[in-house]
């Protein structure tokens, strides 16, 4: 069975050569492949020296959990098992990570909410596990297509949240995610989000490095809390209960503890800046007066709208947010300088990204903010819908 004791200083248990994250992401030669998001995630995890994965591979979310199971069968993932339900899965992920394992799982939509209590517990226990959230919306009625409503529920869990636009970003982000989450001064869980179906099920070109290299293993002895280890002081069979047994001091500890979890997310900024090459990515015209603030596949549609609007002589730019937690407030504020109209196209009915943008820009920016267009429940977002929203604002009543 694959395990840490089978590793050498230079190779992991599956015989892959251990390399730095910088080499894997930026230096290793790459070849072009044509894959779905689920397949690409398998390729990413194959190169991450993953110790453990737990899944509740309910169909039809995506094939991702199933494919990570194949990695275990092929000897790349240390251990792999199925939970009885999503709550069990996320609890078991916590157990694996507390014991010092690099751990990954995937979920989406209703399953995310079923496991909800765990996400705040994950961050509170400072485990650096990764959840790949292939967003698909929340019942009812059932949808298995793209809708990212569940992301709004994850915003205040204390976990980092990154958002990939396409399969290439999913590959690179999910590798960088482990590295940033495992930094000793960060060391909180990371949720890497992609839009389900559009990314998970759709085949795209993607550049991949060779599969005979992989990340250095996770070192739990650089964790900010002692890992579960009964032999190394302070010996632990469990993580410490931190507010029990002393009502007098519990408020102080709890308040400080919560500030600390959120501080840890803030400390991830310079690392994310390095590995993602920026917390935001801007496409379009520097002197535009119209901006689209987006994440995920809405970015792709906004870029298409940008190209069509350029044909009409209307300059725009797309400001894609790669991180949602931490929120790239400073970067966004700089990017909207000179902008008169901001549009926030989203794949959900509540406009959670619009609320985030409004909150961060309130009293700091004079631009008019329009929450839309919004689609949901599996609807696509054609560029025409975005263009119509823009034309209604700048040329009211005249249409596109």
């Amino acid at each position: 069975m694959s395990k840490r004791s089978d590793m050498t200083n230079t190779h992991n248990w599956s015989g892959q050569k251990l390399v730095s994250t910088d080499y894997l992401l930026f230096e290793a030669p790459r070849e072009k492949h044509f894959m779905t998001g689920s397949e690409v995630l398998k390729e990413a995890m194959k190169r991450c020296t993953v110790d453990a994965s737990v899944s509740y591979p309910i169909t039809p979310q995506s094939e991702a959990a199933h494919l990570i199971g194949e990695l275990w069968a092929e000897g790349y993932v240390g251990t792999y098992f199925r939970g009885e339900n999503e709550f069990g899965v996320m609890s078991e992920v916590a157990g694996c990570a507390m014991a010092g394992a690099r751990t990954v799982t995937t979920t989406s939509g209703p399953g995310t909410l079923r496991a909800m209590e765990n996400f705040a517990q994950w961050s509170g226990t400072r485990i650096p596990c990764q959840l790949i959230l292939m967003a698909r919306g929340i019942n009812s009625p059932l949808t298995i297509q793209p809708d990212n409503l569940e992301v709004s529920y994850m915003l205040e869990t204390g976990c980092m949240i990154w958002y990939a636009e396409n399969v290439q970003e999913l590959f690179d982000m999910s590798i960088a995610a482990f590295t940033v989450a495992e930094k000793p001064d960060v060391h909180v869980p990371i949720i890497t989000v992609v839009d389900g179906f559009f990314v998970s099920h759709t085949r795209e070109a993607v550049m991949l490095p060779a599969d005979d290299i992989a990340l250095e293993p996770y070192d739990p002895y650089k964790a900010p809390l002692p890992p579960i280890d009964s032999e190394t002081p302070p010996g632990r069979f469990l993580r410490d209960p931190f507010v029990m047994k002393s009502n007098y001091i519990s408020y102080a500890t709890h308040a400080s503890w919560q500030w600390e979890v959120r501080s840890a997310v803030e400390r991830s900024r310079p690392y994310a800046e390095h590995y993602l090459k920026g917390l935001i990515h801007i496409t379009g015209e520097d002197d535009a007066e119209i901006a689209f603030v987006t994440c995920g596949t809405a970015s792709n549609q906004a870029k298409e709208a940008h190209r069509e609007l350029m044909k009409l002589g209307i300059k725009t730019k797309v400001i894609k947010l790669r991180t949602i937690r931490p929120f790239p407030a400073k970067e966004l504020l700089e990017a909207v300088q000179g902008i008169k109209h901001i549009f926030v196209p989203e794949f959900n009915v509540v406009g959670w990204l619009e609320k985030e943008v409004r909150k961060e820009l309130y009293n700091k920016c004079e631009a008019d903010i329009v929450g839309g267009p919004r689609v949901a429940g599996g609807m696509s977002m054609p560029a025409e819908a975005i263009i119509a929203e823009v034309m209604e604002k700048i040329n009211p009543g005249k249409g596109a």
Partner: protein, 189 residues
């Protein structure tokens, strides 16, 4: 550490919310300024040598002889205490003490202020404390006391301490002791 005082409505301020984060590799933090490590070491020595009841709080990572590095560091910390004329109060463990801590002889990250109040400590070094518990304690100390806090960290440092140096291994402690002796001589204390 950023400015003193409450952050938002919490009595427990967090420096990250004022834009201060851990120093980059090779650097240190003095309040909110990123400085060279040697500059920080000199200031730390000065604070410890001039403040009342200066104390070192060694944590589990240097209290228990679980590695050669831990043993070597523990020996150096004893020497450091002598050079700095400092007391030593251990943080044996991280679990809250029930029903009541003996604050004269022990510190705990869940209520570090009790030990600082009890012993009237005006400057303190945290060393060998796991980072999360150091951070929880430093926020409480910053909110509840007037103690000048110093974090000597083997990993990335602690922005809620008033002075922090990072990547501190045994050889770095030797360097600090040498600098502390120089500062002590300069101050004539």
């Amino acid at each position: 550490m950023a400015n003193q005082g409450p952050a938002y409505y919490s009595p427990y301020p967090a420096a990250t919310y004022e834009g201060v984060i851990t120093p980059p590799e090779g650097k240190a933090l003095l309040l909110e300024d990123v400085v060279d490590e040697e500059t920080a070491m000199r200031e730390i020595a000065k604070q410890m040598l001039t403040k009342e009841n200066a104390t070192i709080f060694p944590g589990p990572q240097v209290l228990y002889a679980w590695s050669d590095e831990a043993k070597r560091k523990a020996t150096l910390i004893k020497e450091m205490a002598e050079v700095l004329n400092a007391n030593m109060i251990p943080m044996y463990d991280y679990r809250p003490k029930y029903p009541k801590i003996d604050a004269e002889i022990e510190i705990n990250p869940n209520h570090p202020n009790l030990t600082i109040w009890e012993n009237k400590i005006k400057a303190a070094i945290f060393i060998g404390v796991h980072c999360h518990y150091a951070n929880v304690a430093l926020k409480i100390v910053r909110a509840e006391t007037d103690c000048y806090t110093i974090a000597m960290c083997a990993l990335s440092g602690h922005e809620d301490a008033m002075a922090t140096i990072r990547d501190q291994h045994a050889s770095d402690l030797e360097k600090f002791i040498k600098i502390a002796k120089e500062v002590k001589s300069e101050l004539g204390v």
